[in-house]
Symmetry: C2
Subunit: 110 residues, 2 copies
């Protein structure tokens, strides 16, 4: 997964575990897509300070994912549900059997 | 949801964020279903100590869920996938349309 996209997913899942100051700066970078210099100006801190904070946030978010694996789990379910969705558009008996099988797999995983 | 069942779900999701000592005692209580006194004997600490530790763990796990809502999200998906599974067993056109609709809802949520 591309770096900033992955960071966005991690933030979606675990962002609430950062403090408000960290969230503000991280959102400017990941969601609003501002540059480090723009964020530094906005927050009245150095560019290096912004860089370090974002690096620390990345490390914290990756740390949560290393322990909990919930982004991976959700991505996996997402792919399975996409497959179900595609199969349901073609109404054959074979596809219905596959829908049963995939949905059973998801239920076992949850 | 019944208390101990809910605690088990919370532990499944966020247990890795507790330390090893906390996990050992919490697992004895939630998964092995030992009594507070049995755990106290096993660990060589007081019954009150076990009680306090479990209460603190519950609070930590609930704190994570209050911030992240991932157990709720998974439970919701689980119900939807169960509905898909039931519908796929009865192969009508109407049911396939419902499968499409529910799976779309899940994808929007993920």
């Amino acid at each position: 997964m591309e770096d900033k996209l992955r960071q966005g997913f991690l933030y979606d899942f675990y962002g609430e575990l950062l403090n408000e100051h960290q969230r503000n700066i991280y959102e400017s970078y990941i969601i609003e897509d501002l540059s480090l210099s723009e964020i530094a100006d906005e927050q009245g801190i150095s560019r290096q300070g912004v860089h370090d904070l974002i690096k620390r946030c990345n490390k914290m978010l990756e740390g949560y994912e290393d322990k909990l694996h919930l982004v991976d789990k959700f991505m996996h379910i997402r792919e399975d549900v996409k497959a179900i969705n595609d199969l349901a558009k073609e109404a054959t008996e074979d596809n219905l059997a596959k829908i049963c099988s995939i949905s059973n797999d998801i239920l076992e995983e949850l």
